[in-house]
């Protein structure tokens, strides 16, 4: 947990530094990992080395079991990437989440991203027990208190604080849209330092959302870096089956419908890529 002692200080909180510097950060998201072979994990993103600032490692995305986000992040770290370990509230209670946050920091992972998580019914284990002991806002605050207050939620002191930049997610395109900026403001108040939004197609909605977020955060004198994430779209678009790629987008991505031009351009892109 002694983040200060383990070398490579220039790597520390790279994403946080980029977010606060105001320059664009380019991030990618790991595909789902279903192998325990570290070399195979690294080979999934090897072509991106040197081209991205950081790579998100998903936490049982879509409520499917995959290799742990912290483990994947550690593998990426060993291969020269700057990983972002995601933490969903679905699978672990407050004990497990706190210990894994500290564990991630002990392994040298400097970026964490906290989210509620899809419900268990979205995945292939619909009978799994859903935990949701904490919600994302609460976990963000607890993560920030672990680091800045050097204590657990119970109040028990840590003997060394973790060092990570805390990220959050928000979906500007899901109802109730008027409440989304307020919800993000709560997360920022809780300690979020960078934010990933859902894939953005409707720039008008995104613009309105961002205007409100900037207004609120300016008043609170907090300036998070906000990441607009077009990357997940490419995941669907370069899917081996082209038709399936766009079908995935049309069905699953909020805000995608009603943008036939984007669909057409993605089809063209996908046909070139595959």
């Amino acid at each position: 947990m002694s983040g200060s002692g383990t070398g490579e200080p220039e790597r520390r909180a790279a994403l946080g530094a980029i977010a606060s510097s105001g320059r664009f950060a380019v991030t990618a998201e790991m595909p789902t990992v279903d192998t325990a072979d570290p070399a195979a994990i690294a080979s999934l993103v090897a072509p991106l080395l040197g081209h991205v600032d950081a790579i998100s490692c998903t936490d049982n995305s879509g409520a499917h079991a995959h290799v742990s986000s912290v483990a994947v992040a550690k593998v990426l770290l060993d291969h020269g990437f700057e990983p972002i370990a995601q933490f969903a509230c679905r699978d672990r209670n407050r004990l497990a989440l706190q210990s894994d946050l500290l564990g991630a920091s002990a392994l040298g992972i400097r970026n964490i991203c906290i989210m509620t998580g899809d419900d268990v019914t979205a995945g292939d284990h619909p009978d799994a027990k859903r935990v949701f002991d904490l919600d994302s806002t609460q976990l963000i605050r607890i993560a920030s208190e672990l680091r800045d207050g050097e204590r657990y939620l119970s109040g028990r002191a840590l003997s060394g604080s973790p060092s990570y930049t805390i990220g959050a997610v928000e979906n500007p395109f899901a109802p109730p849209m008027e409440f989304r900026p307020a919800r993000l403001a709560k997360k920022i108040e809780a300690g979020a330092e960078f934010v990933f939004t859902q894939i953005a197609f409707d720039l008008d909605v995104l613009g309105r959302f961002m205007a409100q977020v900037v207004d609120r955060t300016a008043r609170a004198r907090r300036h998070p870096g906000v990441g607009v994430r077009p990357g997940i779209g490419a995941r669907g678009a370069v899917h081996p089956s082209r038709s399936r790629g766009t079908a995935f987008l049309t069905k699953s991505c909020a805000g995608w419908k009603g943008f036939p031009e984007t669909v057409r351009r993605t089809r063209v892109f996908a046909s070139r890529a595959t």
């Binding site: 989210m115 419900d119 607890i142 028990r156 997610v169 109730p176 409440f179 919800r183």
Partner: protein
């Protein structure tokens, strides 16, 4: 088992509080009928436009998740409206505490069957973990 130091305060929400508080049954009947209340004992109905957040399948306490469907229905139960979308809309119409969806502390575990009226009187619903305060 039984290794907890005796000096620690007993966990709230379990044990002796299982004994129903005075008026418990009346509260349960009224609030179940009116709000489909789950007797979590940490009532925030006033800030949710009188919408019980414990009806959210994820039992979220700080607003809706990102999975709300475009028509405002629940990610888990598409045939039901999102509890928090409802809460937001209703809270806007409430003359008091309008849109006052606060930063709510972590819920204390097993809370079913706890009286929030008793919690309010005893201050139990305002007890927060030591590491939560800043």
């Amino acid at each position: 088992m039984g290794s907890a130091p005796s000096s620690q305060r007993p966990p709230t929400g379990v044990g002796p509080e299982a004994r129903p508080a005075p008026g418990h049954r009346r509260e349960r009947k009224a609030k179940e009928a009116a709000f489909d209340c789950r007797m979590c004992g940490q009532c925030i109905l006033h800030s949710t436009g009188l919408t019980c957040p414990m009806r959210c399948p994820k039992e979220l306490r700080n607003g809706p998740c990102g999975g709300v469907r475009r028509d405002g229905s629940c990610e888990v139960y598409p045939d039901r409206p999102c509890v928090w979308a409802l809460a937001w809309r209703r809270s806007q119409r409430l003359p008091l505490w309008r849109s006052d969806i606060h930063h709510v502390q972590p819920r204390r575990p097993p809370v079913g069957g706890t009286s929030s009226w008793a919690s309010f009187v005893t201050g139990r619903d305002r007890i927060v973990p030591d590491g939560w305060t800043r």
